[in-house]
Homo-oligomer: 367 residues x 2
DNA sequence: TTGAAAGCGCTAACAA
DNA sequence: TTGTTAGCGCTTTCAA
């Protein structure tokens, strides 16, 4: 029993394959009686058009790509068995435990925004969140399947982006404006401005002049931009940025805990820990709070991202909220815009951020 | 400037298109010098193979589908402007506000699990989370693009599933074991057993005999199964299930709040509210707690799913944890297994659940 | 080790 | 309104 094709449907309905195609693509161009006959045959044969053939012929896929390599930091479950013997177990889940807590990935929002916007515009979305061995292969694979692709800035070599962009439009997500020669379209948030505003606020409103910056991975353009903002705020307030401590984190909560422990052990605790992202800040809280360090009285801790977990922590996390969902949507719109107008000048969308002042920096807030 | 094809690469390297194809698919079948020449041409021309053409010729796409229609309940942002004038704003975000809180979608885990497992196995994943007008079209569209598809049980008419399954394998996710005639592969969790265990626990350990069940949408097989478990527990304890109140929710937090308000207004408050999912239970807490109802002393509230928000609520939510990530992975494995062995008997994977007892049902738990 | 050639299933001129 | 036909870019026998 083979899969039905246009030919089968055409034969069954006693029409040509062109008519079958028309019925599916532009039904109004076909006489009603013919149309109904064809539709009946489609039903009868269980016909579903092959997208491969369709896209090959049409010279477009109707799919957009989103590539975020190396984001997922969960460890691997390995081969899990299909069947398990006990179907229910019961545990008393006391507070503090987190055995079933999923990591709150900060790009979830981007994904949702893209997803939604893509379908809204009649496109499907193909996502590659590759903790895979070879991001290059993954990106090339995706690139062959889609009409345009959005890539997390800094995640793949420019070389590769150049290569891929000879086939389809490439949009960068996040990071700084690109240097002149690489004129990819680019959507991002006001990393620098956000961090500058937050830091300046700490400098003004608290007596917090001894601030340390907890960075993300060295190759993250987003972390770099946020550091920029941090530095600018210090300079703006008349401090020498060179004297500020920099701790090397990697955006992960785990790593942040290690750093906090070191801080605690060496006793070199700054007045404020300005973290490059929320997960890092939460990792700090994980260690400091149980150790009896009062936040914000002893140490101010701030994040960046505005993830849900920061709103639910104790104390709640002062942070810079990024409109992740909007960012995803902007990426989609940039791709579509580029597809429609291949020759327009490079798009640069810079989305605004919002500094959220909460208890980790502010003392008790007014209700 | 056109996009490079095999023909361009072949001409550039002075070989046939067959050789170009070989270099990319089975490099070992080509003499090294030739291979290097071809690879150089690939680089020079910025060649990326067309997946459409490749899949058409190969008769497989290397993509798996995941279809979850009507899940996303965010409302629509509409057309947002590309550029905004202010790049940073600052707000004091007092506790209680939630203006930037994204909804914690309970299928996130399934998505992550599928994503990961698919790439692990060398497949890409195409996801359709359709709040779209027409799920049928969306599913058909996806079905044309993939080698197999996993569909949320109960989300599309059997008719359509039958149709699609004549082209590619269809795996159902969630819900009850299917009736005999429809022998789709099926992965799900122990809904019934989980709810039975939870309810039985309430019946035994609390003085909670007056329980109400807060259902999900009428057409949700998952909700139906959970209700089954609820009923069985009542019967097992010697109660008449017919006397238990059933409230008609729809899995949404909003709807649950309305129900809670009604309950409050009419004063017909049961001893325990056994909710068909966590969001419903959280919606109940949203209303009951501020109204001064003590949970669990006055009313016990329980959920189902094990979402993160239930671990962070006050009081924390007693619930039945489903291994969402595992479920996603199981769906992928089922699809692959079916692709490899088209004639094997139907797969039925039933994943175990875990009852998590927390403060919304238990009083203060031991540390 | 390489090349020639026949499809894969569909779309879109162009003709009828 | 419908049919004929020439690709779309690649894989894969089969020969050379």
């Amino acid at each position: 029993m083979k899969v039905a094709t246009v030919y089968d449907v055409a034969a069954h309905a006693a029409v040509s394959i062109a008519t079958v195609s028309r019925v599916l693509r532009r039904p109004d161009d076909v006489r009603e009686s013919t149309r109904e006959r064809v539709l009946a045959s489609v039903q009868a044969l269980g016909y579903v058009p092959s997208a491969s053939a369709r896209c090959l012929a049409a010279q477009r896929t109707g799919v957009l790509g989103l590539f975020f390599p190396g984001i997922d930091d969960e460890d691997d479950g390995g081969e899990a068995p299909f069947v398990q013997d006990l179907s229910v177990s019961m545990v008393v889940d006391a507070a503090g435990g987190s055995e079933v807590a999923p990591p709150n990935l900060s790009f979830d929002g981007v994904l949702r925004g893209s997803e939604r916007e893509a379908w809204r515009q009649g496109f499907a979305l193909m996502v590659g969140v590759g903790r895979d061995a070879n991001p290059a292969d993954m990106l090339r694979d995706i690139a062959g399947r889609v009409d345009a692709v959005a890539v997390l800035a800094g995640s793949v070599p420019d070389e590769l982006l150049k290569h891929v962009s000879r086939r389809i439009p490439v949009v960068l997500i996040g990071g700084p404006r690109r240097c002149a020669e690489m004129d990819f379209d680019h959507v991002s948030v006001s990393n620098r401005e956000g961090m500058r505003a937050l830091t300046a606020h700490l400098l003004e409103n608290a007596d917090a002049t001894d601030l340390a910056f907890v960075a993300g991975p060295a190759d993250s353009p987003d972390s770099a931009e946020r550091y920029q903002g941090f530095v600018e705020a210090l300079e703006g307030a008349g401090f020498d940025p060179a004297t500020a401590t920099i701790l090397q984190g990697d955006f992960s909560r785990i790593r942040a805990r290690r750093l906090a422990e070191t801080l605690l052990a060496t006793g070199r605790m700054p007045r404020g820990l300005v973290c490059a992202n929320d997960r890092t800040a939460l990792g700090m809280l994980d260690v400091l709070v149980p150790a009896g360090v009062r936040v914000p009285e002893d140490v101010i801790v701030t994040g960046f991202d505005g993830i849900e977990a920061g709103r639910l922590s104790t104390p709640r996390l002062t942070t810079v909220y990024q409109p992740m969902v909007e960012l995803g949507r902007a990426a989609i719109r940039a791709m579509l815009s580029r597809i429609e107008h291949p020759d327009q000048p490079p798009i640069t969308a810079r989305l605004p951020v919002k500094v959220l002042l909460r208890e980790s920096s502010e003392g008790t807030l007014p209700a």
